[in-house]
């Protein structure tokens, strides 16, 4: 065997796995089909501040813009400002951030293969023995007893291995985004605009990356039939603060806002990060979740490496630990998403009028009961929708 593990995808999940596994003594290869890691950017680039300490994330000057809270807007324009550990954080430059994670993994001893396509699983007597790779016109095999899919939403090799990573239209948001200069009125707040006309089953965001630079994006429900680019262009045209704004980058993508895939491990195979749909169903964020899962998966892989037993029974530790911690939290957020998507703009406006900052904190902590009670007091007709939360 050439390696102890082959990782497909050098995003946050793949590099986090590689760093921890290589530090623990495993020989790790990371392949990525792109020639420039971290590009093209497919997201809003925000990371919540509550992650930095537990995950040891450090944002160097020039890599991110510090955020102090969130401003959330109802369809009628009413603003709620929320400041919690979760709503502080950074909007990062993914192209630098991802590369720094790869550099950290390389320093720990992982071997990197950029511009190298994973074409499929390498098999011997029907058993997976690694990954078939293609680079510079040549096919070759990277052999290892463990394959790690950190492929992001594409997850083609994971699907080839039998994992149910196909995304369904109902459980994705489809997103379009400009990074813009000359944006007026940026505060150190991420801004989220809700409303079924503005962004059907989604939201428009303004994530500042500087005093007058911001990611201005939109996500809409994949089954809503809405054209995200058109809606975003309309939002920008209708708001005078973007009058002088100039796009300096176009980004976008499709992100899971559904449940995590039903299994993360098989014999000799692990799926981590967005490939496993380990994404927050409310805001579609997954950078920190990916780093955490990559690290957790590597701890299970090191256990397997010590025992020289890469069976699902040994690797399952990663899946069990993840589901007990993040899985439990995200399932509450999924419930909340499915409630929010039933609300019309009038309901939204009413709810924003009734609740305050402290209620928003409770909702973010999945402590729904007191907030639901407060809303129902004034609008009992929402019971049939909101009862799913209590």
């Amino acid at each position: 065997m050439d390696f102890d593990a082959v990782v497909i995808g050098a995003g946050p999940a793949g590099s986090a796995f590689a760093k921890r596994a290589a530090k623990g003594g495993m020989r790790v290869a990371v392949i990525d089909k792109k020639k420039d890691l971290g590009s093209p950017v497919r997201c809003g680039e925000g990371i919540g501040g509550h992650w930095f300490e537990p995950l040891g994330i450090k944002i160097e000057p020039g890599v991110g813009y510090a955020i102090e809270g969130a401003a959330v807007y109802a369809p009628d324009g009413r603003e709620l400002i929320v400041k919690t550990a979760e709503t502080t954080g950074f909007v990062v430059e993914r192209k630098i951030f991802d590369k720094q994670l790869a550099i950290a993994a390389a320093r720990a001893g992982a071997k990197f293969y950029p511009k190298t396509m994973a074409q499929g699983l390498a098999k011997e007597d029907g058993k997976t023995v690694g990954v078939k790779a293609f680079r510079d016109g040549e096919c070759f095999e990277l052999r290892a007893p463990l394959v790690v899919s950190a492929e992001g939403m594409e997850a083609k090799i994971a699907r080839e291995a039998g994992f149910k990573c196909q995304a369904l239209l109902y459980d994705v948001d489809t997103c379009y985004e400009y990074e813009m200069a000359n944006v007026e009125g940026c505060r150190r707040l991420i801004e989220l605009y809700f409303g079924n006309k503005i962004a059907p089953r989604g939201y428009v965001w303004v994530f500042p990356k500087g005093d007058d630079v911001a990611n201005v994006g939109i996500g809409v429900g994949g089954s809503m039939g809405a054209n995200p680019k058109r809606l975003l262009d309309e939002f920008i045209a209708a708001n005078p603060r973007f009058k002088r704004a100039e796009p300096v980058e176009v980004k976008g993508g499709v992100i899971s806002v559904g449940a995590p895939v039903d299994s993360f491990v098989k014999d000799g195979f692990i799926v981590v990060g967005t490939a496993a749909h380990q994404v927050d169903p409310i805001h579609g964020g997954g950078i920190a979740l990916a780093i955490e899962a990559g690290d957790l998966a590597a701890q299970a892989a090191l256990d397997a490496f010590q025992k020289q037993d890469y069976s699902a029974a040994v690797l399952r530790r990663y899946e069990d630990e993840w589901r007990a911690a993040e899985g439990a939290k995200l399932s509450k957020r999924l419930k909340l998403r499915k409630v929010i998507e039933q609300l019309n703009d009038d309901d939204f406006n009413h709810i924003f009028k009734e609740i305050g900052d402290s209620d928003m904190l409770k909702v973010l902590d999945s402590d729904f009961k007191p907030v639901v009670a407060k809303i129902l007091l004034k609008r009992p007709s929402l019971l049939k929708i909101l009862k799913a939360l209590v």
């Binding site: 089909k33 792109k34 020639k35 093209p40 497919r42 396509m117 992001g152 939403m153 594409e154 997850a155 083609k156 699907r159 080839e160 990573c165 196909q166 995304a167 369904l168 239209l169 994705v172 489809t174 997103c175 379009y176 994949g222 089954s223 039939g225 054209n227 995200p228 680019k229 176009v250 980004k251 976008g252 993508g253 499709v254 899971s256």
Partner: protein, 55 residues
């Protein structure tokens, strides 16, 4: 049967790849290609944020 890609619109996000039920789509160096496994289901067309695909 394959879907048609307008690369002047495509932003290379591979969102289409993630919803394709038959793994017919592939992204290489920010370009999407579609092979003969395609069943013309249209999921990719609906999900594409740049509206770059058509049947």
């Amino acid at each position: 049967m394959t879907v048609k890609v307008d690369n002047s619109k495509c932003i290379g996000c591979a969102g289409c790849v993630s919803v394709c039920p038959v793994l017919a789509l592939t992204l290489v160096e920010n370009k999407i290609s579609c092979d003969e496994k395609c069943i013309n289901c249209g999921a990719c067309v609906k999900v594409c944020p740049a509206r770059a695909l058509r049947l």
